[in-house]
Subunit: 325 residues, 4 copies
């Protein structure tokens, strides 16, 4: 029983039309399905029905992040385990509403309030538009190159008051491997400032960074992957010329070696474009420690300054035990 | 008095709608203007009104290639010079028809039948579509990244029976610098097989390669420039997934160091996507000779084989002294 | 109990000095250790002691390929399992000879004669040369960029007479996931021509392609990973200018979306430089089938022809049950 | 009579050994010749004897920048013209000392004190080292890819108190085309803050930016060109891991579209790695004006902040009328 990989995220957006335009025309995602209040999106080589949902809402933020489990029995086992910890769970019925495209899902809030969903059944995406069908069985749809055009969904990152506690919860309870972390001394000895984690060989699928304002848990960003550094440069130019604010980057995280840029989508959620960096294969991987001396290189290898907003700005998390759709 | 740079080409296309779709949706050029029989196109950073015209025709090929001269008096001087050589010239009235976007143009056929136009006045492109206007004064329009999305028009290349004669005509009469050439021994001693030439610092704006069939002069290709090798790789994938036949490449011409791919647009004209390679600055540049031993590396550095069609297939040239539009 | 990932390969080389020069100066690997008959090599971000051993030999080929297991008990369990299948096993003592840098290793030949090693303990590489030490804890050594300079070892590929049988052995006995395959009709109905497999999220760590000569099992190639398509282009130019024969590429395998080139190192073994393509995360991944119609795009998406040598040339495998070093 | 192109620069360096190490091992330039006090350097495809000289000195800075003229008579004509302006000139004897590799050179200081040299005769570089000789006649030496490995020398940039005056001198007296400029209002109405100029089709070979301290003329940087954005990313990582301070970048100048990074070499001179951006072909090019509203995008398109040092830090210029070597 275990987690397989991070699967999708549901973003709350205050301006659904503007956010849809950003994610499709500028970022280059594709619409799988939509109704008046939801837009289901995927990158060109995302195999599943969707990897992002935009949901019309009063406030922007993350409604939930969903992980696929590694087999049909895992949901029930996780339900029992979470209940054993005193964590409230709920089932979202699959196949409709925001659960379109996947099966019944188990939902819960982590102790820090991360709205998390687990699911097993999922619909593989099948392209219906003849103009976008590809002859290649490795292409769930045609590669057009339009917009930033990432290859796939990559990861999700949160600001929390205590990153160590969140890392330990997700490592201990969901088996997400701890890959690297940053420590700092804020006056009370060295403490954890950030942790990056993954179940797969990716450098991370989930990260927790310390909310400098200590104002609770927030969505930091969702990330999509482009193939190359050159596509990151191209992305930056597309975004800049479309009038999208780039908060930071292109830069390189020394921690993972990945190239990044962060921008703010029209409803205020932060989105990362991400490329490159290491994969981790060692089954006994020891998390890399970045101490106060090396962590500036870890955050940005080339020397650019982290913007002040980076450790303070985030958007709200779904604010209660998620209810079935 | 002299030539400034190659400016645009007019392609004859048998299927205007399919060719328009290829050049806009797949290659990522933009329409400046169009009527029932012509589509005027430019790359995103082409500064002038257009760099390519598609003209509906019974046979595909090149109707004319146009060079901008370096001042207002040059047209008259070239007219006198060409007449002195016994070459028939004609004037195309500017500002309308296929001469939309530039001034009166002097037209003639080179001795090998290359339909050539010279012009001085030209309209700078001004974006009218608010969705494509850029805040950057260096961007005549917004950079969207859609399709292959080349930066600019680059060069034009012909198959001719005698490349040395054509090179000498354009060097001697129009002052186009001879930059590099290939020789071979076809049984009668070493002879010229191809020559590449430019007025600007580009490696070439004009090339002549020996028609292996010795069947006269043909358009070999028109070329657009993308910024990077990575964009070439991306272009190849876009073209392949759109069902466009890539004849050769991506490869690297050892001669110039440029990365290339050749494809055939829906009406049958060959189009090159081109990137990188050297610029030449020396005012006393001596053309580089590629002899039979080194020329295979000159044609393709990495070792791929030139397809048989490369030195035999071309499309027709405008078949007479061009008449005013 | 299971396999973790492919770890290293031992190449037999007939010209150790020339091969060492190729792998270090041209390909840009680094020497971890060496003696008169062995050179231990790793890419700049390979974390373990080495990922390649060159061993002086009378004939070139692959002496063994080694997989790391996922825990200390796995070796004994695999030993029992293999003995139960009637497969002869042997132990190579760790820490010395060709087993320098890792612990005791279990060796066996697969039914098709693939010389395979399993190991658990491994030494993490620690840079001793001050000029190559990095301040970055994510860099086991400094990133210099010299030569092709791959980031890490990627995979190994074999020609065998029956790819389906080898795929099934490694899937069934070692738990290596089957990711995609090619079928063809050679006159007796559709049959398996090639299969690609991985334990990790890589598109493949191991592949079997049908030996067109049906002359038994051979090493097809070992592969190192570069970060980007641009680095592949750069690699091709470095190799070509160093006089190294590029057999095929740069091209794109439509199967995985990876960019490739194949070259022959001085002792005759084929080496691939590899970049990009998909990662696979689905725990219930169904192998993609490439049938006779689509398989040409699967082999090379952009349209270049597979060279005749690709399915016939390989180098010999270690020819018996490997003995302890 | 005129200028052909910028040819080389002579840097004064306080630590010749450390600077030599930076320019060769890290930046990847090659030594053409050296003596106790000079190191002559070139990029791999620089065709001439050298494009940079490092000269041991008490203070770092630029000793001179040299332009090649477009014919043998130009030097004498420029000498007469400059004398007519009351500018003192001197001749440096060619072929020895710091003039190794080129002919007799005319030297003068511009009114703002830019130490300028003009020369006509130049030695084409011929590789003597068999290990670096290339079979390609287009490669003056082998392409190894080692270090940052730029293709060629690109441009030189100065801080001056009055950029408009310097631009006008070089446009009016040397015929260097004015391509784009930035204006600002420092309290006395809009004034010129920077100008970029070229004789060739490059976006610039020479630039003047306003010294914010109004402390006179200083070298801002010399620049080398890499082929692609990806090579810029790679360069940044090489520099960072070698402990070289990157002052700014990678970023994109919106003015030219070029990708840049600035670093400080061990003797304190600023060096730029540069790639991409536009070429300018129009013979009647009108310089692009970047006003106070658009100039932030012109300086850096993606939104990174210009460091404070950028308009204040420079190194000294050769301090008098240059004397013959």
């Amino acid at each position: 029983m275990g987690i397989a990989h991070v699967g999708h995220a549901e973003l709350r957006v205050t301006d659904l039309e503007a956010s849809r335009d950003f994610f499709t025309r500028v970022l280059g995602l594709y619409v799988s399905a939509e109704d008046d209040d939801h837009v289901f999106l995927r990158a060109w080589q995302d195999w599943d029905h969707h990897t992002l949902v935009l949901t019309r809402a009063e406030t922007s933020g993350l409604e939930h992040v969903a992980w696929r489990v590694d087999g049909p029995d895992a949901l029930g086992e996780f339900e029992r385990q979470l209940k054993g910890l005193g964590i409230e769970t709920a089932w979202a019925e699959g196949g409709a509403g925001v659960s379109l495209g996947h099966g019944d899902a188990l939902r819960f809030l982590s102790p820090a309030g991360i709205p998390t969903e687990l699911y097993w059944e999922v619909d593989r995406y099948v392209e219906q538009d003849p103009a976008l069908q590809s002859k290649l069985p490795s292409h769930p749809q045609r590669y057009t190159g339009n917009g930033v055009h990432p290859r796939r969904f990559d990861h999700v990152n949160f600001l929390v008051d205590d990153p160590q506690a969140s890392q330990e919860f997700f490592s201990d309870q969901l088996g997400i491997r701890h890959n690297y972390y940053i420590t700092g001394d804020l006056g009370q000895g060295e403490q954890r400032l950030a942790s990056w984690m993954a179940k797969t060989n990716l450098s991370h699928e989930l990260a927790f960074m310390r909310n400098r304002n200590q104002s609770g848990s927030l969505l930091h960003h969702v990330a999509y992957f482009v193939d190359t550094a050159d596509q990151m440069i191209r992305a930056a130019t597309i975004l800049a010329d479309a009038g999208v604010k780039i908060e930071w980057g292109p830069g390189q995280h020394g921690t993972s070696g990945a190239i990044f840029l962060y921008c703010i989508e029209p409803s205020g959620n932060r989105v990362e474009v991400w490329s490159g960096g290491f994969l981790l294969f060692a089954p006994d991987w020891q998390p890399i420690r970045w101490d106060p001396e090396t962590s500036p290189l870890g955050l940005e290898l080339w020397g650019s300054d982290m913007p002040d907003t980076y450790l303070t700005y985030g958007t709200a998390l779904g604010g209660g035990v998620p209810q079935p759709a």
